[in-house]
Amino acid sequence: MAEAQAAVSARGGGGGGAPAALERGGLKADFPLLAHFGERLFGKKVRHVHAVDGVDLTVYRGETVGLVGESGCGKSTLARSVLRLYQPTAGSVKFEGREILNLPPAEMRRLRKDMQIIFQDPFASLNPRQTVEQIVGLPLRIQGVPKHEIRGRVLELLEIVGLPPGHIDRFPHQFSGGQRQRIGIARALAVRPKFVVADEPVSALDVSIQAQIINLLERLQEEFGLTYLFITHDLSVVSYVSDRIAVMYLGRIVEWAKTEDLFAEPLHPYTQALLSAIPTVERRGRRRERIILQGSPPTPIDPPGGCRFYERCFLKEKNETCRLVDPELVDLGNGRKVACHAVAGTL
């Protein structure tokens, strides 16, 4: 396995000297909005949705990085651009030290063996007309595993994810939500990946089933030495599985921290509000301490200049600088990074 360049791990901070599995530089993913005929006729400028706008993300081998944020913050787009399921507009993505954004298709396909994804919706992400064998066997077929070996490998995978081998010829509709998610996991694991993006893998499941899947993902990580990028809006889940967490707001990472640090002392006002907004069993009766944010996030179509959280920020210190100057993600040491003028003392 190729070692990543030292430069990479030095920049990330949190992981000490561990080699980085994945690193990306100032990534941007923009989507053009389709203009009306009239607008095109008069040559109006095409507007863009800046789903991901200048994000740096480093994931070290064997760790789990949690990516949290509310809907529309760009977390799924970010994850998909990492896997090159979307082609980012600018920036770079390195996997084990190797730039992947300009890889030719054939090489990219070979690399996909190492990078897999688990999707949120176990209903929409499985082909209803294929059997479990076909679904889980597809990545194997693509990677050139001989036909006669596939069934055996699929049976093995079913056992790994805790599905009865007898169900190999069943169709997705014959399974419950949790079981379908297990099929999705088996498919992702089929090609023995090193890096797995889990995009809201438990959000569509009932709590008791959620816990089953979380435990399964943890066990698989230990068994196969997987590296996870775990995307979710559920902070309880992310705090449970992640070593480090990145908080996203409107296409940007606003805070980076080790999980314990983030929950012990959230620094960015958005993180503070997010954490205090979650209703939990442990915090009952302490409702009034909650920070209630006003309004909802602005649209990522041509977002405001300055701090993107400015409109909803509740800090007394906020001033003109915040409105006009876009805060940098400042490294506070010990793996902590925050993009806030008030915290970084650049007001």
Binding site: S208, I209, Q212, S236, S239, V281, E282, R290, I292
Partner: protein, 360 residues
């Protein structure tokens, strides 16, 4: 069967559901979505109904609103709302109640609001249909009676002003402008506020909220919960909150009902339920929630999957997943019994569950 709280002595329940049974007659068999559910809701109280998908919590609410659609049907029981049995009401009488004394908000405001009507029209319509005039019967004679005797009718202008006021109360900025917006022009949180405004239009005595914040982001969920708390305190509305989220319940409810496979398995005041859960299912649910920011607390999932409702195991429905179940549990169905004031549990092994009660 009645919980023995002080409330039963000095207040009549506003809602008294007795042995409610709502079944669906499908090709695959009879699905007992709600199977012998009994509970009471007292004035000003907020009761949470918790359970996983398919446990019958939403169908319980739909039955109370009499909104169960084919092939489902209420096959037995009583729903006493302010002393009157809703099960026996005609559709016309129900229509008069819904939106007046009885209101409901749903999970997804995008599918419950009419996409081709401006929200102002939808709110004023609700106000004009329900408020003041209960002779809403259609047809020529209804029209004639309203024409001959316009008293109690609300003018368009009046309804508009009331709607604007309602939008302001639910915290919508620039309500005048928002009245002219279509639902798709609003964010999810905004739309849910509009739904709440419509539900509150006629000052309901009882509000049924079916997963009102599930489709929303956490910061928006916090806003909506804050709003509902406000409504509860200011108007004294009784609320039945249907949710799968124990977090929401623990911040919002006075009492909790836990449902599993169409039945109530445990019911208790909030603190009692969280500190001393006694049904193995409740214990399992609480143990499977990860704690915020605490990795040392390992989640313990409930084994197995929720059984199909048309093919329930004999005896206790939870017996196939229960760590304590024995042969007796698989044969005889447990009754809901009161083990402490207001704390009801349906489990044969209730004496053995005290040890595992340290759920939360």
């Amino acid at each position: 069967m009645l919980p023995d709280t002080e409330r039963t002595i000095n207040a009549e329940p506003i809602l008294d559901v007795r042995n409610l049974r709502t079944h669906f007659f499908t090709d695959r068999g009879v699905v007992k979505a709600v199977d012998g559910v009994s509970f009471q809701l007292y004035p000003g109280e907020t009761v949470g109904v918790v359970g996983e998908s398919g446990c019958g919590k939403s169908m319980t609410a739909a039955s109370i609103m009499r909104l169960v659609s084919h092939p489902g049907r209420i096959v037995g029981g009583e729903i006493l709302f302010m002393g009157e049995d809703l099960v026996r009401k005609s559709e016309r009488e129900m229509r008069r109640l819904r939106g007046n004394q009885l209101a409901m908000i749903f999970q997804d405001p995008l599918t419950t609001l009419n996409p081709v009507l401006k929200v102002g029209r939808q709110i004023t319509e609700s106000i004009r249909v329900h408020a003041g005039d209960d002779r809403e019967d259609g047809g020529f004679f209804g029209w004639l009676r309203r024409l001959l005797d316009p008293s109690g009718r609300i003018s368009r202008k009046e309804a508009w002003d009331r709607a604007v006021d309602l939008l302001r109360q639910v915290g919508i900025p620039a309500p005048d402008e928002r009245m002219r917006a279509y639902p798709h022009e609003m964010s999810g949180g905004m739309r849910q506020r509009v739904m709440i405004a419509i539900a509150l239009a006629c000052n309901p005595v009882l509000l049924l909220a079916d997963e009102p914040t599930t489709a929303l982001d956490v910061t928006i969920q916090a806003q909506i919960l804050e709003l509902m708390q406000d409504i509860k305190e200011k108007r004294g509305t009784s609320i039945l909150l249907i949710t799968h989220d124990f977090g929401v319940v623990s911040e919002f409810c006075d009492r909790v009902i836990v449902m599993y496979a169409g039945k109530i398995v445990e019911q208790a005041p909030l603190d009692e339920l969280l500190d001393n859960p006694r049904h193995p299912y409740t214990q399992g649910l609480l143990a499977s929630i990860p704690r915020l920011g605490d990795k040392s607390h390992k989640v313990r999932p409930i084994k197995g999957i929720v059984p199909e409702l048309h093919d329930l195991p004999p005896g206790c429905s939870f017996s196939t997943r229960c760590p304590l179940a024995d042969e007796y549990c698989g044969r005889v169905e447990p009754e809901l019994e009161e083990i402490a004031p207001g704390h009801l549990v349906a489990c044969h092994k209730v004496d053995a569950t005290a040890a595992g009660a340290k759920g939360a």
